[in-house]
């Protein structure tokens, strides 16, 4: 199959743009100002739409825009941008500011670098341009732009007080408080978490992130570029992990403990896993029995999430009949092929018509996807689990496995499907 290409013109892709990718990654940094430079749309559609929680300040939950008007497009938006930055920095006193470029910024010739540099000097905080013009590619290009912006913060802070057993959590956005679950596991293992990148993130933590001994990277690449550049620049190794499902969660904790090579830590990790599973396993059984043999379909943003979901369904004795992602690469799909059975359909950059026909043809019992997939599933009368950035339920960690299973169960077992034409059982 072909993948990792631009979407076809005229298709109704489920994909997004560069700006979207950048916004997703940086958005949870709660004490930074996130100013979208462009007409109002991009800011308005991303106002507080994600469930990224903060333990303190919540500046990230506001939507800031330069709201460019026609005259700005004609005469340039630079002074408006500088004015907006001054106004907002004076009002909110953020620790740093990110300025996102939208489609038209480069085209109208605004020199974002120069404005950011100037305001940074005037205000004494980092003002960082994010090169996220929407049309320059897909979500993944947006991840790169976000990582480039983060790189400008990393290495600028004081690293005193960071011990040898320390790491940064990368690629977790603290949806529904998930990063707090994971942090607690690491702390129980005896590991110091230096920076959350970026869920419940703080500018000053990110500035000293280069003092950590290890980066753990979740997600299909949203922060992988940062981990790679930190390895190059600071010699910090990274591990790719996933916190979804028992299998990947356990494996990730052991891998981290293994990295530090401390036998006491390994013992603590084993105990943690034992304690968690002792609580979780008995609770899962009831659901497993009910779900055994049911057919599941998966269509998510990143392939990494898809791997974990395949394993999770396997653990529930369910059959995965379709799996796909918006941004997967060739090697990802080869791996998906490895871990699924022969008849499983594997899709890249799908669209509503294609998804509908697969769901229909494969007689799917439950579909896992994002916001745009939900109405398709419901219209077809197919149970659905939301696995997106708007979630209000934690799906990571051991408790997350239980939440996920409950959600699948509550949708699959609901009595409403008996009334749906064509789904009578």
């Amino acid at each position: 199959m072909s993948c990792d290409r631009e979407s076809l013109a005229g298709a109704v892709s489920q994909r997004a743009c560069v700006f979207c990718g950048s916004r997703v990654v940086l958005y949870p940094i709660a004490d930074a100002l996130h100013l979208v430079h462009g007409p109002v749309g991009c800011a308005v559609y991303t106002w507080d739409i994600r469930g990224a929680l903060s333990s303190g300040t919540e500046l990230h939950r506001l939507s800031f825009s330069t709201d460019l008007q026609e005259k700005d497009v004609i005469f340039g938006g630079e002074e408006k941008l500088a004015g907006a930055l001054h106004e907002l920095i004076d009002r909110y006193h953020p620790r740093a500011a990110f300025v996102y470029s939208t489609c038209i910024v480069g085209i109208i010739g605004d020199d974002l670098d120069a404005i950011c540099k100037r305001v940074s000097r005037e205000k004494g905080i980092p003002v960082i341009p994010v090169k996220s013009e929407g049309f320059k590619g897909g979500k993944r290009d947006g991840y790169m732009a976000a990582c480039a912006a983060l790189s400008r913060l990393v290495g600028t802070g004081d690293t005193s007080g960071i011990g040898p057993f320390s790491l940064n959590i990368m690629g977790d956005f603290n949806l529904a408080g998930e990063i707090w679950i994971i942090r607690e596991y690491f702390e129980k293992m005896g590991i110091q978490v230096v920076a959350n990148i970026t869920g419940d993130g703080r500018v000053d933590d990110i500035r000293r992130a280069h003092g950590a001994a290890l980066n753990v990277v979740q997600c299909s690449g949203s922060t992988l570029y940062l981990a790679q550049s930190m390895e190059k620049e600071f010699g910090i190794p990274y591990l790719r992990v996933s916190y979804l499902g028992i299998e990947d969660m356990t494996e990730s904790l052991y891998a981290v403990a293994g990295f530090f090579g401390d036998p006491h830590m390994m013992e603590r990790t084993r105990k943690l896993v034992r304690d968690e599973l002792a609580v979780l396993y008995p609770q899962l059984q009831k659901y497993r029995q009910a779900l055994r043999g049911k057919k599941a379909a998966i269509y998510v943003g990143g392939a990494f999430k898809a791997f974990s979901l395949v394993k999770t369904f396997r653990l529930l004795d369910m059959e995965v009949v379709m799996v796909g992602s918006q941004t997967g690469r060739k090697e990802d799909y080869l791996e998906l092929k490895e871990i699924t059975s022969d008849g499983t359909v594997i899709v890249d950059d799908s669209n509503p018509l294609e998804l509908a026909s697969f769901l229909r043809g494969k007689k799917v019992d439950v579909f896992v996807g994002g916001v745009k997939e939900r109405p398709i599933a419901y219209k077809l009368g197919i149970p659905f689990c939301d696995h997106n950035h708007e979630r209000k339920e934690a799906l990571e960690g051991f408790i997350g496995m239980l939440n996920f299973t409950r959600e699948i169960y509550s949708s699959v077992m609901s009595p409403v499907w008996q009334f749906v034409p064509g789904r009578k059982r």
Binding site: R15, G41, D67, I104, F135, G422
Partner: protein
Amino acid sequence: MPAPAPQKVERKYVSTVNACKLCTPLGACLAFRGIEGAMPLLHGSQGCSTYMRRYIISHFNEPIDIASSSLGEKNAIYGGAINLKKGITNVIRKYRPQLLGIATTCLTETIGDNVPMILKEYLKEAGGPGDRETGGPGDRKDFREQGGLPLIISVSTPSYVGTHMDGFHLAVKAAVESLAEGGEKTGRVNLLPGFVSPADLRYLKEIMEGFGLEYTLLPDISESLDAPILEEYHKIPDGGTPLSEIRAMGRAQATIEFGRTLNYSYAAGNPYTAADYLQARFDVDKYSLGLPIGINETDRFFAVLEHLSGHPAPDSHRLERGRLIDAYVDSHKYLFGLRGIVYGEEDLVIGLASFLSETGIVPVLCASGGKSGRFEECIRAVCAAHAGNPAESLPVREGMDFYQIAEEAESLKPDLLIGNSKGYPLARKLNIPLIRVGFPIHDRIGGQRILHLGYRGAQRLLDQIVNTVIEKKQNDSPVGYAYM
């Protein structure tokens, strides 16, 4: 009451924080969705279509497919014509639409793509007659009959000009300009409702049918964005205004257009709205009304229907009106003097303010992100002066964002917020109830079923507001009476 000259509220701030408006192409996509067999296509980068779909889905809980020409970096430099043509071909092949509604975005407007010209070229290349305007007023042929192509119309909707409501009205006007035909006059009535809910539209149809009027309702999202569950998955949802009914609009006796801010006098030869166009070109009488929310604005609407149909309103509506007045009386003490902040699209706010001031609630702030320049004068025209609160003194603000609304709210001591979901953070901060109306409703189910219009909508809104007020009183009371 003589309307004071509209005052331009100068923005006090450079930045926009939590905008109280959406971008122009989103409105166009919604309007296109209300035409039968139509498919919206955005000429721009992939993200716009995805963001708008997400936003619309979260309100309607319905699939909405919006195609995109998915411009990449090369196209931004060399122009998007090739991608747009490819996009059109692919959409036609996959979806077989009867009508393709193309809306531009800030990107394609800024790089200067001339969409009407690209469409002309496209039709020439596709073997269609090349000398024909696409979607211009001179064009009267359905391309499906003329070589298998759907009708293609385009609107210029850069998001740096206006709001989603401008995009909405532009799309309606473009559909009318490219389809409406002249001919012998009929008794037909065109009804241009603006952006209202599927429940509102179903009720409007009931009203029109009750008067025995043949009508065209444009656009009509009552089914296409609120569909029953079906046996089969439909590529393009059922419902929407049939093309044949849009064609018949030029032969109608009258057009009723909701939206007080739309009714400006326009430069001769440049009709501003679809109703203006129909009047200028086909001599169809234009009746410009406010959104019929509350008794006064609904009475005006019914008066026009009585005039056009030549007979009085059916008894059922008169009874509904009577019951509504009875309910106004029953609940007047709970509401008198309550202070409400209303925000949202200008015309929706005007209708709501009119209704609130009928019940005794004082609209202490009317705010909109739109900037028609006519917002204040329209509010003044519909709001009666209140005891101790002359209507002139109440703030009416256009070009507002939620930061400014919150700032003004601090000193206004409101009891209620009336508007869409996006006001929830403010309602929470002020610890006052939010009465959810309009679009988007992202934090409740059933946004598409909210009824705002007519006597029935006013009844529903009234009950909801009164009961919300009573509930708060009851919850806050140390006694906790089980009767009120």
